[in-house]
């Protein structure tokens, strides 16, 4: 089976890889680019931990055919921190104890970023809606919601 050449932007950096036909974006990111921040959860679109931004829009990388992102810009959690500093959302998650086992955290952070990029001061209901496709099996939703609201309100200790 011939490999398909694929180029796209990954966290602001141009990357070029070869993928097999049918490879999903999650596999391409984790196994071919080495960005293991998006996690594999269900492979069905039910859990949200593989969430990434494609041209700024929240998508599930496990349900995205890798070659459909040719020429597009992908953001993952790996590109969220700004140099040595955590992104305000990451800081808020740490300060508000929003990560328990941590497996859902990459997807939660990307869903939260997708929300705040469009709506910098969301209501609590809008936050709940924004993370409704992301499952936390520790059921720690309250601290996650509080962390996102704290990041939006700027009440984040430096």
């Amino acid at each position: 089976m011939t490999k398909i050449p694929l180029q796209f932007r990954h966290n602001g950096r141009d990357v070029a890889i070869f993928v097999d036909g049918g490879t999903n974006l999650l596999v391409a990111l984790r196994e071919l680019i080495g960005d293991i921040t998006p996690k594999f959860g269900c492979g069905q679109g039910g859990c949200g931990t593989c969430s990434v931004l494609i041209d700024g829009e929240l998508h599930l990388s496990c349900l995205t055919l890798a070659e459909t992102v040719s020429g597009r810009s992908i953001e993952t959690l790996d590109g969220m921190k700004q140099g040595p500093n955590l992104h305000p959302l990451q800081r808020a998650f740490a300060d508000n104890f929003a990560a328990q086992c941590g497996y859902c955290t990459p997807g939660m952070l990307m869903a939260a970023k997708a929300l705040l990029d469009r709506n910098p001061s969301p209501s609590r209901a809008e936050v709940v809606e924004a993370i409704s496709g992301n499952i936390c099996r520790c059921t720690g939703y309250e601290p996650i919601i509080n962390a996102i609201l704290a990041a939006a309100g700027g009440r984040v200790s430096a």
Binding site: G21, G43, L58, L65, E129, G133
Partner: protein, 272 residues
């Protein structure tokens, strides 16, 4: 197992590729086909794609609206002229699924999915499909009855007439998890009123049969009557007629039969 991906510039070429290969599947938003590939579905050896702008077009200004098959639920929600379809679009998935899942793909989503199609069935939508020999329009009911045989055809668009008022079209999805969850049952009702009486009622149910179906006995109970308590009670008690729900993790067939009349009554009486 690697599959062959064929990408075409226009929909008719894609339809040709789809109709000539039984192991080909059309890739829309990916929420069905990529899921099948992730689960190791070996019946798929070719993925067909089309980058045709016509497939993502929305015509929503007039009395009859048309949605390209590749229109996502997020785009339906962003369109003010499609307010009557916002409740069904919002009831699907989380934001990521709504950014990916498409109107055309939803026609093929098996129970407990396919909520948008329940709304389209109540609205008597027309499905434009393209096979190997050209395009044609199919009433949605006929499309759904032959859904298994539609695998070789490409859905181009769906169209329906805008309901006369927000009262005339109602939608309700019953899920155990809010705001997102698979459907226990889904209901939609189109209730055109003429001279104070219902004329041409259509009630559609999801997760009450292998495909979305109409509750014809309940429709008959409404026809030619005003929407009063006695009429609503008659429709609700007829809601299970012709249904054949199955058991799944979200609810048993027995439970679905028990609640469908209750929720139809609430839908028709405008209760939350």
């Amino acid at each position: 197992m690697a599959v062959t991906v064929k990408t075409f510039a226009n929909a008719s070429e894609a339809a040709g590729a789809l109709s000539s290969d039984r192991s080909a599947r059309y890739l829309g938003g990916g929420t069905l086909v990529m899921r099948a590939l992730n689960e190791g579905d070996v019946s798929i050896s070719t993925i067909v794609r089309a980058q045709d702008q016509a497939l993502t077009r929305i015509e929503a200004s007039g009395p009859r609206i048309t949605l390209g098959a590749g229109v996502t639920f997020a785009r339906v929600l962003a369109e003010r002229d499609l307010a009557f379809l916002h409740a069904p679009a919002r009831s699907i998935g989380g934001p990521a699924v709504r950014n990916m899942g498409t109107v055309g793909g939803n026609l093929f989503a098996p129970s407990p999915y396919g909520d948008f199609t329940v709304a389209l069935l109540a609205l008597d939508a027309t499905i434009a499909v393209q096979g190997g020999f050209g395009s044609r329009d199919i009433p949605i009911e006929e499309f759904l009855q032959g859904r298994e045989r539609q695998a070789g055809t490409l859905v181009l668009s769906v169209s329906c007439t805008r309901p006369a008022s927000s009262e005339a079209f109602r939608y309700r999805k019953i899920a155990r998890i809010k705001p997102k969850g698979g459907s226990v049952i889904t209901l939609a009702a189109h209730l055109p009123v003429s001279g104070g009486r219902i004329a041409g009622a259509r009630i559609a149910l999801g997760s009450m049969a292998p495909t979305q179906i109409r509750a014809r006995a309940a429709e008959r109970a409404l026809e030619g009557r005003s929407l009063d308590t006695a009429t609503i009670a008659a429709a609700a008690s007829a809601a299970t007629e012709g249904t054949s729900p199955s058991d799944n993790a979200l609810g048993s067939a027995w439970y679905r039969r028990e609640i469908v009349g209750v929720h139809l009554r609430r839908l028709l009486s405008g209760q939350e």
